[in-house]
Subunit: 188 residues, 4 copies
Amino acid sequence: MKEKKIIYSREEMFKMNKRKLEERGVTLEDIALIAYKQQSKYNPDIELSTCLESVAKILTYRDIFHAVQLGIELDVLTEQGKLSEPMQGILEEDLGMFGIDELLGLSIASNYGVIGQTNFGDIDVNKPGIVGKLNKEGRKGKCHTFLDDIVGALAAAASTRVAQIQSEEYAEHDPSIKQLQMDLKQKK
Amino acid sequence: MKEKKIIYSREEMFKMNKRKLEERGVTLEDIALIAYKQQSKYNPDIELSTCLESVAKILTYRDIFHAVQLGIELDVLTEQGKLSEPMQGILEEDLGMFGIDELLGLSIASNYGVIGQTNFGDIDVNKPGIVGKLNKEGRKGKCHTFLDDIVGALAAAASTRVAQIQSEEYAEHDPSIKQLQMDLKQKK
Amino acid sequence: MKEKKIIYSREEMFKMNKRKLEERGVTLEDIALIAYKQQSKYNPDIELSTCLESVAKILTYRDIFHAVQLGIELDVLTEQGKLSEPMQGILEEDLGMFGIDELLGLSIASNYGVIGQTNFGDIDVNKPGIVGKLNKEGRKGKCHTFLDDIVGALAAAASTRVAQIQSEEYAEHDPSIKQLQMDLKQKK
Amino acid sequence: MKEKKIIYSREEMFKMNKRKLEERGVTLEDIALIAYKQQSKYNPDIELSTCLESVAKILTYRDIFHAVQLGIELDVLTEQGKLSEPMQGILEEDLGMFGIDELLGLSIASNYGVIGQTNFGDIDVNKPGIVGKLNKEGRKGKCHTFLDDIVGALAAAASTRVAQIQSEEYAEHDPSIKQLQMDLKQKK
């Protein structure tokens, strides 16, 4: 018997994430725009292409792949009416007290630390760009209970990643840092 | 048109959780036994009935209701083959690198703080009692990808709740605590 | 030898938290105002006094007491120059890549679930009211590295608590909820 | 005026972490041994040197550097009696209901996902090797309130990192994975 494929390469995960997001009406550019908007407040000379690159990078990670795929799967199953109660009704209505969508979002964002998580909070509460659009669509027939949080979290992760790279690059080039050799090798 | 019921009372949530767990082969006593085993190391005179009471209490909370119901729903949908790929294969095989089951577990346990979460870690890694049984069954046809983590987290939450109540009771009866009046009322 | 008092009653914790916050320039009203501002977007007929009541309630919890007291202690020790390097410099400068202040904030907010955490993210990023004021003061001599996150988290917790109480009250009074009896007693 | 150095290179952070841990009685080998013990249950042909390499790697990360340095700083300040009450007493006595030490531990471990966190829970509860030794010393004069959790978390992170590398290597070499080209470049 042929075993099912359950482990994917990073390139495959990127392609599958991109396709699934697009099927649900979200482009990588939509996500990059939110990251750009959030990050350009602090770094005015940031470029949208840098944010898009970060979005693409993030979509190759296994943890994030699992969250994106499961969340969208649940939205689709809900639209198809395949869940039983009480979950069918709760996900259809996007019940405000249901928090597992935010939990998935916080989990995606946590790949970029606590700053990733606070940046997700900002996007989740204020709903810029595509996040607000998904949220509205969710009240008119479509189910985006998980998608809006996932997209917001991907934007927060991309935004935070851009800031981290800039900070770490600054650290690397700081002339006051005198480079030391790691002495672990000798130790072993 | 009749609106769907999506908000349940605490008694309803308890009943629905109990029934769903039993349908999947788990009794509240199974869960209480793990809590008892974990907590009796520190408090030898604890009673099983106290742990069972904690399990029942925990099953009335809305956050926990949502996690229990969604997790079991996903296990059932997987057994019914209703998911699309890649999630159908990943949940069928209980892929080790898939972590959203542990995420739900950590979330349930976090209702009892970081100690709830470390207690969940202990149960999740060492798989006592029903958790180990579910884990084995999951490799022979049944899908318990989420259930073993949910049950372990409920046990950890119940165990931690028992410890917290004992600590707080001790605090209340500590004669060195001189009771002060809250001065908020005057402030307002 | 007299043992040190390390466990405090809820009234004592409230008083100690209130005093410590006031010593650092923050009143409970300052915190309640942020909660009010955040929550009145969704619930226009909310009252400031309800938010103040929530702030006071939150300040009686042990987990939150520990986070408030430790965070402020670290700010004060930093102002007194009592830390050694590298922490003295990192906390003095409120290094952006240092995230343990946000970690304490997220931990306080998590007492009100993932919504508490996303609400904290909003406040942490957008810095309304006293949070913005503390942040600015922190750049001119005072050390508020932890305080601004703690205050933001207390406001987020209070705001989320108000929303939860309203939702749960609605749930309790929803006429479509038929009350069921918990059957645990018979079970035991 | 000379500005303080607050950003360190990865080599510097490694050296500072190693020295600080050794000053407090913990070698990298002590930590690697716990990781080895935890991981060799699942991967019997793992080597201690692989675990040691993981420990060293982990100690170069900025988030982990901040948690290690702050935690040990707090232990040292407590031994020196430099804190004010209530924190001085709470940290001296390693109050069981104080959870910020576990919070730092969970935060370190979360760099390796939820599995990192459950692995930390196992070590935190069962206290193998140096963690148990630190815990006992902490009851006789020394203050290891934060150190035992930090060391346990570093071991859990190292253990989980080893498992992840093995899983990801397996994924890379799985012949059923057909390599796809990322089409982002063309997109831009």
